[in-house]
């Protein structure tokens, strides 16, 4: 294929060709970055929580009235018994309020050892001392099996290790991520953590994955600790484990059962949810954003394809006579087809080269203003390949039309 005549033709349409090149470049830049944003969000939305989410449902109850504060744990025990009696409920636990992805966070600065605590006390800040702001979960006995947490090292809590209400327990189970951050390369079992200046908390087990109630950013999303602490305030979340298809029914039955045990309570339907709903609600903005990003990327590609087709159609119409002449002096249909395909390839190539630079620039801009991570380089060749393909597809119909121009056109006057 001879490229020289194509280039000289393009020179005669310098402005139009430049505009199309620019359009391809901007499309390439935007689509590459949008694709990267989509990938980020998808990764975010599918972060594992460590829980068996599809078999869990949660109901929140707040005791009201003059007696609500007297002995909340006794009330919770009665509630737990009533919930356990619902047919289909395999197990149930009470937690104060914090659960992965439910946004009710209880986080507290925790230090891996006494030295770190002393350092932190000295500078009145956790920054750079080894202490980490981590999420603390509590719950009645049976929390780990009910939630379906995977205890990889150590043991579960013993009955006499449980404390009530606001008290700090002597032992705790931590997530694997926190174990790696606190005690890199060491055995976390038996290590003594400090939460404020109180007595030490001994690590007795490690769970594989346990996401926090709120996501704080990569690297800190799994800094979680479980305390053997029974909830002891009027408000409590009950987590029930059952077969997935029974969850809606069980939530209804749970509300009735709780009101039967004690009607002096408020059960907000907003906090009566299956875990699937809790996750969907947490990531609702991200799912909307994914939809919007996909729609705009497709829209852009569509508009660009339209532009390529439209312009190619025009050029074919404009050059009908010269195509006829070329055909008359011996060019085959394939030659004509390839001519337009090559022309398109050249324009898209210029566009893509410029587009790759623009992609990087745009990514730098986004990193500055929207805390987006750096665009992995492999997105660029993929994006370029996609635009080449799009260009070829868009030009195919006009190019085929051009190849069907009969040689006899050359002999006709305009």
């Amino acid at each position: 294929m001879e490229i020289r005549p194509i280039i000289s033709t393009l020179r005669r349409h310098k402005l139009t060709a430049t505009l199309l090149t620019l359009q391809v470049a901007f499309t390439c830049a935007i689509v590459c970055n949008v694709a990267f944003m989509i990938a980020n969000r998808v990764q975010q939305v599918s972060l594992p929580s460590g829980l068996d989410e599809n078999v869990l449902s949660v109901i929140h109850s707040t005791g009201i009235g003059p007696d609500a504060e007297t002995n909340p744990w006794a009330q919770h025990e009665a509630d737990l018994a009533a919930l356990r009696a619902i047919p289909g409920v395999e197990s149930v636990v009470a937690v104060s309020y914090a659960l992965p992805l439910n946004r009710n966070e209880w986080s507290s600065g925790t230090c891996p050892d006494k030295q770190a605590l002393d350092r932190a006390m000295q500078v009145m800040s956790m920054h750079g001392t080894g202490c980490i702001d981590s999420s603390i979960y509590n719950g009645s006995p049976g929390l780990i099996p009910t939630l379906g947490l995977n205890l990889v090292v150590g043991r579960n809590f013993l009955p006499d290790e449980y404390v009530l209400g606001q008290k700090t327990p002597p032992v705790a189970i931590i997530s694997q991520a926190l174990a790696h951050r606190f005690y890199p390369g060491q055995d976390p079992l038996g290590k003594e953590m400090y939460n404020g200046a109180k007595s030490p908390i001994r690590v007795i087990g490690v769970v594989k994955t346990l996401l926090r109630p709120n996501l704080h950013g990569t690297g800190t999303n799994y800094d979680s600790i479980i305390w053997p602490q029974k909830p002891n305030s009027p408000g409590s979340d009950y987590v029930m484990r059952s077969a997935p298809q029974n969850r809606e029914r069980i939530l209804k039955a749970a509300k009735a059962a709780l009101l039967k045990v004690n009607p002096s309570r408020i059960i907000n339907p907003k906090y009566t949810q299956t875990y699937t709903q809790i996750r969907a609600e947490y990531f609702q903005r991200d799912t909307t954003m994914i939809g919007l990003l996909i729609a705009s990327a497709l829209g852009l590609l569509f508009v660009t394809a339209l532009g390529i087709t439209g312009l190619a159609n025009f050029w074919v119409g404009q050059r009908t006579r010269s195509i006829g002449i070329r055909r008359a002096i011996g060019a085959t249909r394939g030659d004509i087809l390839r001519y337009f395909q090559t022309e398109n390839f050249l324009i898209v190539t210029f566009g893509v080269v410029l587009g790759v630079l623009l992609s990087i620039g745009l990514n730098l801009l986004l990193m500055q203003h929207y805390e987006l991570p750096r665009l992995p380089l492999w997105y660029l060749p993929v994006g370029a390949g996609m635009l080449w393909l799009l260009g070829q597809l868009a030009v195919l119909a006009p190019a085929l039309r051009a190849s069907r121009v009969p040689p006899v056109v050359a002999t006709r006057s305009v």
């Binding site: 920054h127 903005r285 705009s296 508009v303 439209g310």
Partner: protein
């Protein structure tokens, strides 16, 4: 002449229906996406209290210790005031009007037995709140300065809540049981909720939260029910380890404070007052940071500082504008090809006496027509876009609809965009020399 150009343009557009449709579609998509996002941004940044907002200011003090690490992106304790600071500003009476406030949630026991007790959201505040913000009353009025001093058990309800509790009957003079105590209703307001709810704490849902009641702040703070059935619902942040939960603690912030200042002199005087106050506190050893950290934000300035528009929305807007940009490039290229193809026609018209200006106007009108059609299509697309946003559970979603100014703006944007896009091609077209083309034929 104008109608002749329109006729010419229509004829030309009809000659290439596919290309015309492509251009209209491209600009329609670009305009539709852009206007959807611009409308969302428009409703999110609108003035919550037109007419009054220009006189409302938010004093910002900085009682944080020097070594406290503030988060440049998140909310910091010094966005709210401590109880001692708020009371000092309140009792100084340096502004035309001033009020301290905090979000609250109370447990309400209806007298009607058929309604279960429920939690309602509202604000704890001081008496000037109602006059300063111009809260419209249906019956009764707000409470008085004396009620504030006496920590009187009075309450102002909104119409919706009053109807729910007392039906159509007058509510003023009746009592409402909050937690375990009775409160006397002194006023019923119209359902009033500025969008955004500018006076709320940073943790609020600014576009969907609605206050259903107002209680005297002094009563709430003295109440034994505080933290029981009466709760503060905003951020409560402390930085001393002595007693973080005590709301009177001088190192615990939780109060929002607004002042009304009518003239620039009053604003300047008040700003100086804040600096002087901070200097005084510093000399007393309470403050550590420079007194010039004290600031006075205008209402719109404060909303900007609070950064209510989520990053996602801004990103969506830039994406939409990028889309429009690419669509415009697309149209420029197509119009250029189209106009230059008509070089023959142009040169005939030029040879017969048309000036370059006439050619320019002719093609300008043709691109404007594409713009009008694209604008109308864009209007439809943006209505679909806004409808789909309204279906989302986001805080601001229910506000996403166009007012007349945005409707006109949409069509204007489309026309401006397409005329701009047509400018270069029209300019190129009008430079076609008359004779050369004729010869080539």
């Amino acid at each position: 002449m104008f109608s002749y150009y329109i006729e010419l343009a229509l004829r030309s557009l009809k000659r290439t229906p596919v290309l015309t449709a492509l251009m209209v579609l491209a600009i329609g998509l670009g305009i539709g996406a852009s206007m959807t996002m611009l409308t969302v941004l428009h409703v999110m940044t609108q003035d919550p209290l037109p007419g009054r907002s220009a006189h409302l200011y938010y004093p910002h003090l900085d009682p944080l210790p020097t070594n406290y690490k503030t988060d440049p992106l998140g909310t910091n304790p010094n966005q709210n005031l401590t109880w001692p600071d708020a009371m000092a500003l309140l009792h100084a009476h340096r502004a035309v009007r001033q009020a301290a406030m905090a979000g609250g949630r109370v447990l309400l026991w209806p007298q009607r037995t058929d309604v279960q007790p429920f939690y309602v959201d509202g604000h704890y505040t001081t008496h000037a709140f109602f006059d300063m913000f111009g809260v419209p009353f249906v019956e009764g009025s707000g409470w008085t300065a004396t009620d504030d001093q006496a920590s009187a058990r009075v309450v102002v309800l909104t119409q919706t809540l009053a109807r729910k509790l007392f039906g159509a009957a007058n509510a003023v003079g009746k009592t409402v049981r909050l937690g375990e105590l009775d409160y006397r209703v002194v006023g019923v307001t119209k359902d009033w909720a500025p969008k955004p709810l500018f006076y709320a704490d940073a943790s609020a849902q600014f576009y969907s939260d609605v206050d259903q009641f107002f209680l005297p702040l002094s009563d709430v703070l003295n109440s034994k029910q505080l933290d029981g059935d009466l709760r503060v619902s905003g951020n409560i942040s402390g930085w001393s380890d002595s007693n973080g939960d005590n709301l009177r603690d001088p190192s615990t912030t939780w109060i929002q404070f607004w002042v009304q200042l009518d003239t620039p002199t009053q604003v300047a005087t008040y700003r100086q007052f804040l600096v002087d106050y901070s200097a005084e506190q510093k000399s007393l050893g309470r403050y550590q940071r420079p007194p010039t950290n004290a600031k006075l934000y205008s209402l719109m300035g404060w909303l900007q500082y609070e950064n209510l528009v989520p990053d996602d929305v801004k990103l969506q807007m830039w994406l939409a504008l990028g889309f429009l940009g690419v669509a415009m490039l697309n149209i420029v290229a197509l119009l250029l090809a189209k106009f230059l193809r008509r070089s023959g026609e142009i040169s005939v018209r030029r040879a017969m006496g048309a000036r370059t200006r006439d050619i320019f106007v002719q093609f300008g009108i043709e691109s404007a027509l594409v713009g009008v059609a694209g604008g109308l299509l864009g209007l439809g697309i943006s209505q679909i876009g806004l409808w789909s946003i309204r279906q989302r559970p986001d805080d601001y979603a229910h506000l996403a609809s166009m007012d007349p100014s945005m409707l006109v703006g949409t069509v204007m944007l489309a026309i401006v965009a397409s005329v701009l896009a047509g400018m270069l091609p029209a300019w190129r077209a009008c430079r076609v020399p008359p004779a050369l083309q004729l010869k080539a034929q």
